[in-house]
């Protein structure tokens, strides 16, 4: 894929730069690329899908030539989970999901895995799904991500990967931390 074929600047992701800036063909020691899930496929409740953002991972991965490269870490935040209420705190941090919302979230995960499968043909890597969320929702978000992996496994769509995607959790404070910083 040619970098210049991608429109730029890519909204939200690189407002002050373009995808041409992420040419990683000379980075011979590069091992890991960390991206946010919403940059790969805009999530539920997001603004209108941007094809340039969707092609981001494909474009950047296609430039990598490093023999050391082995891992793509995809980070999920609270806002990527329908069942987590933003700006709330326990016990009101969870919200009831309608069947439509559940279906929408599952569909988003499906779309993400579709991209992962596509890009895996460009460049082999180990997929790591990281719940980078407030500590109070860590367990819940890990569970949702494990369900997403299990759904793919049940559909026999993980056979393209050399190993099963790893689901990890990286706490990043709490809603209280957020409020204190905003004051």
């Amino acid at each position: 894929m040619h970098l210049k074929s991608v429109p730029s600047p890519v909204r939200n992701l690189t407002a002050r730069s373009s995808l041409v800036d992420f040419d990683l063909s000379r980075h011979k020691l590069l091992r890991t690329l960390e991206v946010r899930a919403r940059f790969i496929v805009p999530g539920h409740g997001s603004c209108a899908p941007d094809p340039a953002i969707s092609s981001f991972l494909r474009t950047v991965l296609s430039t990598i030539t490093s023999l050391e490269f082995s891992e793509v870490i995809v980070a999920f935040r609270e806002t990527d989970f329908c069942g987590v209420a933003q700006y709330s705190r326990p016990p009101d941090i969870y919200r009831d999901m309608t069947p439509d919302q559940r279906a929408e979230e599952a569909s988003w995960h499906c779309d993400l895995f579709k991209v992962f499968r596509e890009v895996h043909t460009l460049r082999g890597f180990r997929l790591v799904l990281c719940a980078e969320v407030w500590d109070c929702v860590g367990e819940y978000t890990m569970r949702v991500l494990r369900w997403a992996v299990a759904a793919e496994k049940a559909g026999r769509r993980l056979k393209y990967f050399p190993s099963e995607p790893l689901v990890i959790y990286s706490p990043r404070g709490s809603p209280e931390t957020y409020r204190n910083i905003r004051r």
Binding site: L13, T14, A15, R16, S17, V20, D21, F22, D23, L24, R26, H27, K28, L29, L30, R31, T32, L33, E34, V35, R36, F39, V60, E68, A75, R77, E78, T79, W134, R172, G173, P175, T177, Y178, N180, I181, R182
Partner: protein, 58 residues
């Protein structure tokens, strides 16, 4: 870690001042001079993170 950084020329000045940069980990988002920064670390970069680290929230 750099994000939402608008000062044009800063990356160039920094690289010039230090005689180059050799970061192994970069967390870069919406930064003026991204190409220069990423390119300057071509020989050392091991992990590239393309979204902001925010310990408090979005």
């Amino acid at each position: 870690m750099m994000f939402c950084f608008k000062r044009a020329g800063f990356a160039k000045d920094m690289i010039h001042l230090f005689g180059g940069i050799r970061f192994r980990y970069m967390d870069i988002f919406d930064v003026e001079g991204t190409r220069l920064l990423v390119g300057a670390c071509a020989g050392t970069l091991e992990t590239l993170r393309l979204y902001p680290t925010d310990p408090g929230g979005e």
